[in-house]
Symmetry: C4
């Protein structure tokens, strides 16, 4: 009897197409962090990808890296120039080692950036040769730095807003699980496609607990456009893992609903993906959504979409 | 009886896959503006995306922004140079503050653009340091400006032409709703896919009016290529919301037919989308299309496609 | 009787998903030129797209345009510099108008390309201001020119080779229509998809001739990869418009088989399309393909694919 | 009797959607090299694609090419400058031919890279004209070099790790063929799709040996995400070419299982493909996978994925 699992529902079709294992990890841990990233850490293999790091790091770090590189590479060249002979640079006011080094550094910068005032210029083969090298390295480095800058700048920023909570609310003759999304920007998102997977903890016949996964059926899996907000609705029928579950059950099952949204962003003409996840502590009961849009009172004929309302709910009378 | 809705047609399958709500907005307002944009305004959340703005603004505004930035950033640096000491710039003819400022600005520009004539050049550490900064900022700014310029220039321009009107015209044994499109350019559009959704206003059993949506069935939803023009034909059968509607009905129903076209543009190797919409006042009755193409009279063996004819119709005898 | 059409085959499913009209154009004209372009000319609307032109013109024309622009824009600036006062350029050896103009032009070039030797440099506000403008225009122009250059250079070149002829040859218990393609390069083409449409001329019951179109069924419509060559085989069954047609019939029907191939090019990570067309005069009868590949005789274990054989056929004994 | 083929299995559905011919190549040669490339060599047609070469060559070769080009093009211009008259370059210290040539080369480099110190500058029309040409060529060359550099740098690097071996191991009530993959990086791979094709050698009724191909059915062909590792499982049922084969049979059949994986890489927002292949000598029997992930012992709540374990197996008790 102890082994009887109150949460087994024969009608639920299990799946693992999220690629999370069924072996249980800490029961109360989310699989998907609130920012949509996986709650997974990789070890045992060098997995560094400079490009990806440089594209995904913060702007502060990025400029830090650029400036540090800019300073250091020219320091390096300044050393070389000092080595091959500072006297081979016209226009350098000979002085202490430091003064010479400073001027060599500035000359290197002027060459690296291809500014080349000429107030300092190479007068021997040696320095001419170093200068040619600096210019070439400068062009290449500028290509990487500016290319990365532009890729970062032109990366589609996440523009989908998710409601903070999911709600369990009446729908037609039964209950439903709902959350809603909207497009923050006026850019057009096209051919949106939503996949919902529920994950919960359940004991098998030996009473050993494991994670289960099931795809949640939706009232509508695709929309062509997203001009306003979109209520994503999972009707709770017999085949739903929510079927006949009380809020207490849901808490005990340690439910997490994982969301994957695919869409085509016309402004960036790229396919974009958005991840999200709702855990049982983010579910609300006995409420319904507060409408987000209304005709422009000024009578402009436009429809106003108020994004600040996306999290707001009203009690179901 | 007052509640009886003359426009209910049980055979029509409703849908809302356009993501427009059914709550009625001003009855006579279009959902999709003639330029294909949504008739929606977003409030309540900062939704600014500098990249998208800079890509989508007019050319005049874009160049305005570029020039303004170019002037102002160098003004800023000119102030700094004046601050750290104009006398640390070789070749500056000392004069009034304004004269110094002008020369500092021009020096800044020469460095920012990496021209670096050298007629003015930094002679102290301070100015050398500022100059290095200007050159670095210049390279970065140029990357953004030129990258944006190129993205704008290489953006696929809308090349699909829609006929100004839609027509309701005999087709096989019945009637049909038709409009036509053509490719303005000789670039190849491939795998075209058209979706038509009709929206109309209808009262429910309580006489309360709301928007309804239904997908319109088409004679052909996809074509592989678009060498000439394409007649998009919705045959009006029993399942069509047009079924047994008079022009008066259609006007009263406040019909809007929303078009979404997806295609692959080979020249830009990008997927492109085109939106359009036809409101009841843009429907024509008792007409048919004037042919748009004919064999080249000069006998070159080519087919001539006359795009200027796309809006022209002929009376149906 | 005169009206009976010898070419009608009730089993053939007609289609027009190529978007070519059925209205007959010159009977003996191809719809698709041998290079895959449409045999169509657009009139009646400005359809110019500078980007597309610049990307698709020949390399000679492209460099011609670049050089012409480079020369002319600097000529323009040289005029302006002369206007505002050549004496405001340090280092100019005053001389005849032409000599001044030459030096102004060279100064403009040095600024436009941001070389800025400084042997000539602006000494008044006016010329400094013009110089700043030249440098800005130079940066922008360079962005377009170099961006276009790179887009042209990195454009996937057509790498699919089609056999010059199509053959009608025994296949299983019947006949088949075949041609073959191969990948010229070692780059990987993935998920190839082929569509074949046959177009022919046929008289309707009133003896009026028109173009007909039918999709040809294939032994295989998709392959996952294309390591060697691919024989594209249309088995001629009862539903084929080739069914029971003699070579004479086919000539009289003015047959054209139009090919559209879609694939994903991994090296360029782009979807590519290739168009082709075979007219009746390009059909061969009573032949079969000469094999294109064989194990490396040197015993390296590699398979040798001999592209020079792609057009070669052998008589069917 | 001699002709009876011990390996014929009527239930196996053959296919050739890999595009490898059935004509037998060296029996013991792989069709797909371990790095995923085809074991095919192309002859008989010029198939050179400079862009692809420059993108796919090693970094060492790439920089070699860039430097060689940089040196040689400036050598060329140095010759020209010497030709038109070294005395037309201000600042050149006339000397031996070699000394002049050196200075001409450095001047050319300074112009090519648009550094333009001005310590040497053109003083005649002839040299001014050459200098203008150098600057233009320099801008264009820099565009190609830096563009290629960035494309190479931003190319998605193969991030999928395959297990070294495939295993044949119990699964449900029968046996299965398995291998596993994981994502080396934390970047998100989305909508993974796996295709498995088995190739083996079999004699036909005349005892003539040929290659056969069959698609292998999988327990799951797609996963939405790949947060951990993915076991790709082919259950060996009656329709499988592995059905009732002993390890000896498999060796004799010269089995090769060819893998094609398609996925969308969100960081690079590109579709990526990965190829792999397992030959019979890479199969292991009587083993099962060692688990790759476990809850973080430090109790961070994260799941640890240990990529170093991917090749490790445990004996099946």
């Amino acid at each position: 009897m102890a082994l009887r699992n109150p949460f087994r529902n024969a009608k639920v079709k299990e799946t693992d197409d999220l690629g999370f294992g069924t072996r249980i990890t800490g029961e109360r841990d989310r699989l998907i962090a609130k920012d949509g990233s996986f709650n997974v850490e990789r070890v045992g293999m060098k997995t560094w990808s400079p490009y990806q790091d440089l594209v995904e790091m913060t702007w502060w770090r990025f400029f830090g890296v650029v400036i540090a590189f800019f300073v250091m590479v020219n320091v390096l060249f300044a050393f070389i120039l000092n080595g091959v002979g500072i006297n081979c640079l016209n226009g350098v006011k000979q002085g202490t080692w430091l003064e010479n080094f400073e001027q060599a550094w500035f000359f290197s910068v002027q060459t690296f950036t291809t500014v080349g005032y000429g107030s300092i210029s190479p007068s021997c083969i040696s320095t001419n040769f170093v200068a040619a090298t600096i210019a070439l390295v400068g062009l290449m480095s500028a290509a990487l730095a500016t290319g990365l800058l532009f890729v970062r700048f032109s990366k589609p920023t996440s523009q989908l807003v998710f409601s903070k909570n999911a709600i369990i609310t009446p729908y037609q003759n039964g209950q439903s699980f709902q959350f809603r999304i909207a497009n923050k920007r006026s850019s057009r998102l096209i051919n949106l496609d939503v996949k919902l997977t529920m994950s919960w903890v359940e004991a098998n016949e030996h009473g050993m607990k494991g994670r289960k996964f099931a795809r949640l059926k939706l009232e509508r899996e695709k929309v062509v456009m997203l001009p306003l907000n979109w209520n994503i609705v999972h009707p709770i029928d017999e085949e739903s893992p929510f079927w006949e579950r009380t809020p207490e059950d849901i808490k005990e099952m340690n439910v997490e609903v994982i969301v994957l949204i695919e869409a085509f962003d016309e402004s960036f003409s790229q396919t974009i993906f958005a991840n999200g996840s709702y855990c049982d502590e983010e579910f609300l009961y006995g409420v319904k959504w507060k409408p987000m849009y209304y005709p422009d009172p000024s009578g402009s004929g436009k429809t106003i979409l108020d994004l600040s309302v996306i999290d707001e709910v009203l009690p179901t009378a």
